[in-house]
Point group: C2
Chain length 306, copies 2
């Protein structure tokens, strides 16, 4: 039985950064997410790949209890993305996008997946997100991600989906674009007025901002000496975040905050190598050690006032 369901993309990425260049490496939102989440809970993945996809490449996920029956192999080629990063690595320049099988993707969700307690709708067409939400038969914590393309081209479908979920995870610029508010505090409040009880805002190398009904939380990013490839960092964060939540089994504010720290830990690994490589070879002890190192960078004791 899976505990966490993700619906998103599997891709072949070609990436250029100041540190090197790779071609046709495994990527996509659902794969980055699953790669991270599978350290913490049993994940079921729903995504489409093409005839060119070799399932052997994701064999390692099954060793981490990932259920891959939700991956459907369809006529045509796997989704491909080609991008480049400049020196500051904050913004990807998309060089080429071949949607291929994604273009007509209609997720087929194995029946038993729909009993998962935690569901992550990665960045896909908001109409598909709603299509998935409507199939869910029992209470679950549903979390949604999106991107500027949908904000700009399917705003009202996106808002319909947002209204039906428990949390959203978005980038800082996306939240501002969605709400027309510069202030994250105000922007998050606008989203919470629509339905979600929690808004998680990714700020890249600057960490994460979170708002829930009773408070705010801020976490810096783990300080790395060098970032090799930020592709998939956001989905990896979401994977660590939701994997942790699903493992603990609740969404109390305290659990959400710890899940953000865990998501940040996982994202810090992801950017240390191209594609999914770093987290593919990651050990659980490394996660513990990085958490300890991260906590040391955040702790300041307590100030005593006179």
């Amino acid at each position: 039985m899976i505990n966490l369901l993700v619906i998103g993309t599997i891709a072949y990425d070609s990436i250029e950064s100041p540190f090197g260049k790779v071609e046709n490496v495994l990527g996509g939102s659902a794969l980055h997410f699953t790669n991270a989440a599978s350290f913490f809970t049993d994940v079921g993945i729903v995504a489409a790949v093409g005839r060119d996809f070799d399932l052997k490449d994701i064999k390692f996920l099954e060793e981490r209890n990932v259920d891959i029956r939700g991956i459907s192999i369809e006529e045509g080629n796997t989704f491909r993305w080609e991008g480049r990063y400049g020196y500051d690595l904050n913004q990807a320049i998309t060089l080429k996008t071949e949607l291929n099988v994604i273009e007509r993707f209609k997720p087929h969700i194995p029946d038993d997946y729909l009993s998962a307690d935690f569901i992550f709708l990665a960045n896909i067409d908001p109409e598909l997100q709603t299509y998935v939400i409507d199939q869910i038969k029992r209470p679950a914590i549903i979390v949604l991600d999106t991107m500027n393309f949908w904000i700009e081209n399917k705003f009202s479908a996106l808002m319909d989906a947002v209204k039906k979920v428990d949390m959203i995870i978005v980038n800082e610029s996306e939240l501002r674009e969605m709400t027309k508010e510069y202030s994250l505090v105000k922007a998050a409040r606008k989203i919470m007025e629509l339905g979600p009880s929690c808004v998680v805002v990714k700020r890249g190398e600057y960490g994460v901002f979170m708002a829930e009904r009773n408070g705010l939380f801020l976490a810096p990013a783990f300080p790395l000496e060098e970032v090799f490839d930020p592709t998939g960092a956001g989905d990896t964060f979401a994977g660590g975040f939701m994997g942790y939540l699903a493992n603990v089994g609740n969404v109390n504010p305290e659990t959400i905050k710890q899940a953000i720290i865990m998501g940040s830990v996982m994202a810090s690994f992801n950017v240390e190598d191209f594609g999914i490589n770093r987290i593919k070879r990651l050990g659980y002890d490394e996660i513990k050690d990085r958490y300890t190192a991260f906590k040391r960078c955040l702790n300041f004791g307590d100030i005593k006032f006179k």
Copy 2:
């Protein structure tokens, strides 16, 4: 006896932000710094003003034990700066700078000031910073700030000053420009190789990064609903930071981290109104309350691993 000496500017600022417009309000690095630091320790301020300056305007500082004998009134007008902020408030657009008395400023430091245990060299000509350092007769913790203008125009003089101080406090972009390193971890290491044992990096709304010989520290900024005027936020941060250090009387890593939190608390007040207004009317209890609120936004308990 003063405990903390600051050398910098006093200015009349004219500021436009999306929230309003003010003309000829009190500002300048030394004044913003002192305004914040005087909540924590006895400050002596060294700066030049013109004949147009009315000392009654800073009368309130004397009530906070600030020693203003170091302010010299010189022929000509007080330094004036005119700037505007766009919607994102991260970058000031300078509309006009009238150096006036600053142009030929040669700080005259009262003799007893030179026995202060903590010294802050605000953003002034690095040759003047060295001129001040060379007058100091006994061990003191010396901290230096600078700006892109000096990095671009007096780089070698600046590096001479940097070599002689214990810490530097700079903006993220300034540190990168100084070291030609994008990675803050690497950039801070380069500075520490020159002499300083601690590098404090201001990242505006994203908080603070700190490196010392044995570790790193990261603090987000306090989340505000609205930022009215960021002018002086960096100097206010430095004032809270150094005021706290001078009050505690040491520069252990733990004290430095707490000082960063206190600096962040003070900076969060500064941006809530134009110029020095907010901190001028601030009460000590408000500082305590904001610290408590800030701590709540940063605390995530502890993650237990299996």
